[in-house]
């Protein structure tokens, strides 16, 4: 099973949602909210860049039972 690394879409998207929630929540020092905003914009751009992926990757494994039970 793959674990979402920091560059996966899921990780970026979750972080973007967390940043949005934190900003919406308010009560942030202005400087922190500007830093979060900048991070959010970078995350959003990286998400959009990933979503622009057009090439689908396919891996084909060898058939298991080509000659009886051998690989």
């Amino acid at each position: 099973m793959t674990t979402a690394n920091d560059d996966s879409f899921e990780a970026l998207y979750e972080r973007l949602q967390a940043v949005t929630a934190r900003l919406e929540e308010g009560n942030l020092p202005l400087e922190e909210s500007v830093t979060l905003y900048e991070e959010g914009m970078v995350l959003a751009q990286r998400c959009q860049a990933l979503l622009a992926t057009v090439e689908q990757r396919i891996e084909t494994l060898r058939e298991q039972y080509e000659d009886g039970f051998s690989r």
């Binding site: 099973m1 793959t2 979503l51 057009v54 084909t60 058939e63 298991q64 039972y65």
Partner: protein, 396 residues
């Protein structure tokens, strides 16, 4: 050599082993009519299965009959599934029943029912063990035939909706002899390749074509799969046990591909919404902060009337001082003027104005006494409008 003599128990044991190892007498379907039905207090059910020419004693033990759906009754025509055995202590031949179906059910349907009941009793279909699919799969395992429309459809749909995911195809035959263990092995193989979920798929076909997806190897492999499994076998109207054991059942392979990943266009729109949201929020926060600064400023101004008063006082003082200074200066000027007038009045020049003259000696001093002047001394007479040289006469 005398003939060998066997103890009874050895013969009965041999007979039992013979029966239980005969594949024509084990795990078979037998059709007949129920008679001599008895229910023991232990929960075991005994009956005789018979037709016009034969009869077979049947034992339907409690641990097997507990999941029995169809009620048993005298004279009922049924098909039973089980294995022949021998009750050694009495030498009775006995058909040990696993499952009873009403007669008239097709053998495939009856087998389907039997397997379904058995797996269900084991908890393989329990809803509480169904797992949710990952929101954004990175690697999707696909177990299906590499030929045919199914694989093509899955690639097509996922390529359009979510090309971020890598597809890992484990090809396998999906029908015919050996299909079920092959599919099972394919499931176990594909999960070795870091997939987030597995789609087990097959296109439409007859009940016989889809049969591998009801068989134990596939059911066990799906049940034992460490990641969620989406089943997509045949069309929407086809039901297989693979559908029941899978975490998610998709009506068709294309639908499975739609189920496992979001549409990137929709996700992109949501990212844009979030982008707008944080921009609006941050702009608002900044506006609020600057309003705060302004309010503070106003507050400060309001909070400093004392300063104002001080300034006023300073200003007033200043004015007073200025006035005082000016008055003083004016006064001084007036004073100076009068002094000047007085000085002017005392000036010898003013006297000259009146027709007097000054006698200025050669050393520049003014002669104030006649005795100081000697005869023949040269002096200068200074009058109102100029000077004239002169010589002192007499006294020589």
């Amino acid at each position: 050599m005398p003939p060998e003599v066997y103890p009874v128990s050895q013969v009965t044991r041999y007979l039992r082993e013979l029966l239980e190892n005969n594949r024509h007498l084990t795990e078979v379907w037998v059709a007949g009519e129920i008679s001599n039905l008895t229910r023991a207090s232990s929960g075991h059910i005994y009956f005789t299965l018979k037709d016009e020419r034969g009869a077979l004693r049947c034992a339907f033990f409690r641990n097997r009959n507990i999941g029995q759906r169809m009620p048993l009754a005298e004279g009922l025509s049924v098909v039973v599934y089980g294995s022949l055995s021998l009750y050694e202590q009495r030498g009775d031949l006995s058909f040990v029943v696993d499952f009873v179906q009403p007669e008239g059910t097709g053998s495939l349907a009856a087998e389907f029912e039997r397997l379904r009941d058995r797996f269900e009793a084991e908890g393989l279909f329990a809803l509480e063990r169904k797992r949710a699919l990952p929101a954004f799969p990175q690697r999707v395992g696909v177990v299906t035939s590499s030929t045919g429309a199914v694989w093509h459809d899955i690639c097509d749909v996922l390529g359009r909706r979510w090309p971020l995911a890598t597809l890992v195809l484990q090809p396998t035959p999906v029908q015919g002899e050996g299909a079920s263990p092959s599919i099972a092995e394919a499931i176990r193989s594909v999960v070795q390749h870091n997939v987030d979920l597995v789609i087990v798929a097959r296109g439409g076909g007859s009940a016989e074509d889809l049969w591998a997806f009801n068989e134990e190897p596939v059911i066990r492999a799906i049940f034992g799969c460490p990641v969620p499994v989406v089943s997509a076998v045949g069309h929407e109207t086809d039901n297989t046990l693979a559908d029941l054991v899978a975490d998610v059942r998709a009506p068709t392979p294309s639908a499975a591909a739609e189920l496992v990943a979001p549409d990137r266009a929709a996700v992109g729109r949501h990212v844009s919404v979030l982008q707008t949201q944080i921009t609006v929020t941050t702009t608002r926060n900044m506006a609020r902060a600057s309003e705060g600064v302004e309010a503070q400023q106003r507050h400060l101004v309001r909070a400093l009337p004392a300063v104002d008063a001080l300034q006023q006082r300073v200003r007033e003082r200043g004015l007073a001082m200025t006035r005082a200074v000016r008055a003083h200066r004016d006064h001084a000027v007036i004073g100076v003027a009068s002094q000047q007038a007085r000085v002017a009045a005392l000036s010898p020049l003013a006297t000259l104005e009146r027709g007097y003259a000054l006698v200025v000696r050669e050393d520049g001093s003014v002669a104030t006494s006649a005795t100081a002047l000697a005869g023949g001394e040269r002096v200068s007479l200074r009058l109102r409008d100029g000077s004239r040289d002169a010589r002192i006469e007499g006294l020589l």
